[in-house]
Amino acid sequence: MSTATGSAAPAPQIVTLDTTVVTSWKAPIAFAVFTLVALALAVFAPRHGDTTYRLNASERDAIQVPDLVVPAMPALWTVVVLLALITAYSAWLVRAKKRVPLWLIVVFAVLFLFGFLTWAGAGATLPMIGLLFGSLSLAVPLIFGSLAGVIGERVGVINIAIEGQLLAGAFTSAVVASVVASSTGSIWVGLFSGLVGAMVAGLLVGMVLAAFSIKYFVDQVIVGVVLNVLVTGLTSFFFSQVLAPNAGVLNSPPRFPRLPIPLLSDIPIIGPVFFRQTLIVYIMYIAVAAVYVGLFHTRWGLRVRAVGEHPQAADTVGINVNRTRFWNVALAGAIAGFGGTFFTIGSGIAFNKEMTAGAGFIALAAVIFGQWDPIKATLAALLFGFASNLQNTLSVIGSPVPSEFMLMLPYVVTIIAVAGLVGKVRGPAAAGKPYIKA
């Protein structure tokens, strides 16, 4: 095409409508509620003594970090005052028609958490490294699950079947790893076969989800829910019928050993938490980074997001919408299946009925709490892992809070999140809607 010869059309002036600021009182109200909770703890349930935060992994580490000792009540009162100040500041912001910034919410949350921990751990020692290490471990299946959820929703298919994919992965990896390890005599061959088996199992569940929702236009939530029941039924049936009578051969999986990374694992606090983990955890780091970079910086990601936002537009530029959806939902299934290995070969535990115990649903919560972003979803999953491990730790040191309430926390937080505390966030526009060509 040659250069245009005609005169250029006048450029349109970009005129936008007058605007005003839409303010929301949700953040100040929520802040006030949490401040009152902290205040109530300080007034009605005061706990005296010092709280010791132990920051060392073990006595033998090269670099020793001294313990942090905090007097419980003064610390709690300080926190209450700070929380009250933040609440007041946010109220002022909203009155002045300004937005409450995200960092303020983060600071508030960290302060509240610190106050709560100090209060709960009064007179005792909190092993912070163990707490954080365990949190990361517990978050592993949640993170893999939420990556699967993020990919699914980004491409336009709601993946409620994460639970089923995790369970299928756990089951298959246990069986495959047990059989291969005992027949080849090599633990590592068994473990890697288990990983592959888990991915294939998750992939298959993902494919069924994709086929029913894309080819037959069955509501994605319905297929997901039913698939969870189906996988539960299948694994439980084969467990009772086949695994239990032959547990020695079929269900005694080997375990991934911990592999400390040289140098990195010697960094104080960070090293013991992040770099003395198993191979599954290291693969998880890579997976999170890969999904993030992939979604936002590669051709694959651009197409995935296009299909999830506006499938018709993607179709008109020659992207095969349903094929893209099918393979990415299958991929998501494989990722979730991989996450399922944590329950068995990741922890060296034999498969048991319904052993995922709702982790898939927490992963789903992390997807939404993390606003369909792989990094934020990972952080949400870590938060949930922290909550459940905190419950373990607190019950060891004699917690004043019933463990059930700590276990409830991720779910309650998610309800608050979807009810709009974090602001109205848009998910992928076409998630949940089948793409039907005439």
């Binding site: 509501d219 829910v225 698939l227 049936f237 649903f361 409830m408 309800i415 709009g420 809607k433």
Partner: protein, 459 residues
């Protein structure tokens, strides 16, 4: 959401030809542009051109055959058959005798076939004898007992299925059956073991308390959806776990639900004054809860098809935007629907503690009914009587499943597999038609209607 597959439409959309009224004279320009504000999207640009072909009407028998072959009923039956076949394959493959015989399959294939037949027929005969009629018993009264067991198992499934189905009709997906049942069971149980009231009144108060508890738990999801737009699928899933941990905590806390003097997380037995009475005497387990389930079915039928509330429910479920424009208060419909849905699942929970397990309950009292109810509602296509029948079918699977487990050693979990397969097959009629090579009713331009929950955009 009401009719997931919409296979009724055996013909394409009828486009009545536009009346070609000649209009008075004037400038044609005016007419042309006013006549054709092109609002349709390119995909929706359906031509108003109907080829006026005169097709002779098909014979009545042919029409009837077409309807049977392409209709819902056949798909449902075939789905059940398919699922049972898959179940049979699983039973056969995991049966020890079959495995032994298959080792020398090529030498004596007959042995394998006999072993397969034995294992499958044994299991399914046990299933039938455990759910409908046991011919090995002497008297009719004994022989029919399995059927009453089926109805007992069906009671919470029907009530729960009605709850899920009603929410479907309003365009909502209530996955929170487990939580609603647990809360309802706890409230009803607490009233039933913790208070002394006269016979009848005690049962009534416990029942109402349970219904209110379930309604409350469902209502939270409805209220959050109405006020903040929070998606009910997520909220109800999360509330399941909140309820589970809440009830677990109460069950292990003395003074709340825990039986005095016990360290188990279990309640004391229900007082006799509060228990649902037996319908057919002490010999059978069938209790008053079944009557309540039938009553609930009638009530939901009346609400959905005859009442003004149900009219608004359905309007919101089918097109919330149009409902809003017509002055229907959509958010309050969401709240009402979740209240009623929660109460119906509450009825399922109450019938568990006051009817089925009266000796005290644990946090597992819901027995998976909350999730089964979803499959029941889907199988029953969200119509009250469809749900009633689906509940009885799945009740039979449960009752028979236990006797199959006892008699043949086939784990009860197979019931879950069969149930979920039935729902999957029913949700995808084209798949079933392909497998059985049935004709496709939806010839023509009709697009499959996607089953997606519609929502009013929160403004």
């Amino acid at each position: 959401m009401s009719d997931p597959q919409n296979p009724n439409g055996s013909s394409g959309p009828v486009e009545p030809s536009e009346p070609a009224t000649p209009v008075a004279a004037g400038t044609p320009d005016t007419a042309a542009s006013a006549a054709t504000p092109d609002a349709a999207t390119s995909a929706d640009d359906r031509p108003a051109v109907a080829a006026p072909e005169e097709v002779p009407p098909p014979s009545r028998w042919h029409t009837m055959w077409q309807q049977i072959v392409t209709g819902n009923a056949l798909i449902s039956v075939l789905s059940v058959v398919l699922a049972l076949i898959v179940g049979a394959i699983m039973i056969a493959f995991t049966d020890e005798n079959v495995q032994k015989a298959s080792v020398y399959f090529f030498a004596r294939p007959g042995d394998t076939i006999v072993a397969v037949w034995d294992s499958v027929s044994g299991a399914y005969v046990a299933l039938f004898q455990g759910s409908v009629y046991n011919f090995r018993r002497d008297s009719f009264a004994d022989g029919i007992k399995p059927l009453t067991e089926t109805l007992t198992f069906a009671t919470p499934l029907i009530a729960g299925g009605l709850g899920v189905g009603l929410a479907f009709r309003v365009g909502m997906f209530n996955i929170g059956g487990r939580g609603q049942m647990l809360i309802a069971a706890s409230v009803a149980g607490w009233i039933a073991f913790g208070f002394d009231l006269p016979v009848g009144l005690h049962m009534f108060v416990a029942l109402i308390g349970g219904l209110l508890g379930g309604a409350l738990w469902g209502g939270i999801a409805g209220l959050l959806k109405a006020r903040t737009g929070a998606h009910e699928v997520i909220v109800t899933i999360m509330l399941n776990y909140v309820a589970f941990y809440l009830v677990s905590w109460m069950l292990r806390t003395p003074g709340l639900l825990q039986a005095p003097g016990s360290s188990n997380p279990k309640t004391p037995p229900m007082k006799d004054t509060a228990i649902f009475f037996d319908l057919l005497g002490p010999r059978y387990n069938l209790h008053f809860g079944f009557v309540l389930a039938v009553a609930a079915t009638i009530l939901v039928w009346w609400i959905l098809t005859r009442s003004s509330l149900g009219f608004r429910f359905r309007a919101v479920g089918e097109n919330p935007n149009a409902a809003r424009v017509a002055g229907i208060n959509v958010p309050s419909m969401y709240v009402y629907a979740m209240l009623i849905s929660g109460a119906l699942l509450g009825l399922a929970g109450v019938s568990q503690v006051l009817g089925t397990v009266t000796t005290g309950f644990t946090a597992g009292i819901d027995a998976g009914v909350g999730f089964d109810a979803i499959t029941v509602a889907l199988l029953g296509r969200s119509t009250p009587w469809g749900i009633f029948l689906a509940g009885i079918l799945f009740g039979a699977f449960k009752a028979g499943g236990y006797s199959m487990q006892a008699a043949e050693g086939v784990p009860i979990d197979i019931v879950l597999v069969v149930q979920s397969l039935i729902v999957l097959f029913i949700a995808a009629p084209p798949l079933v038609r392909t497998i059985f090579r049935l004709p496709d009713p939806s010839k023509g331009p009709k697009r499959p209607r996607p089953i997606v929950t519609k929502e009013v955009e929160a403004k």
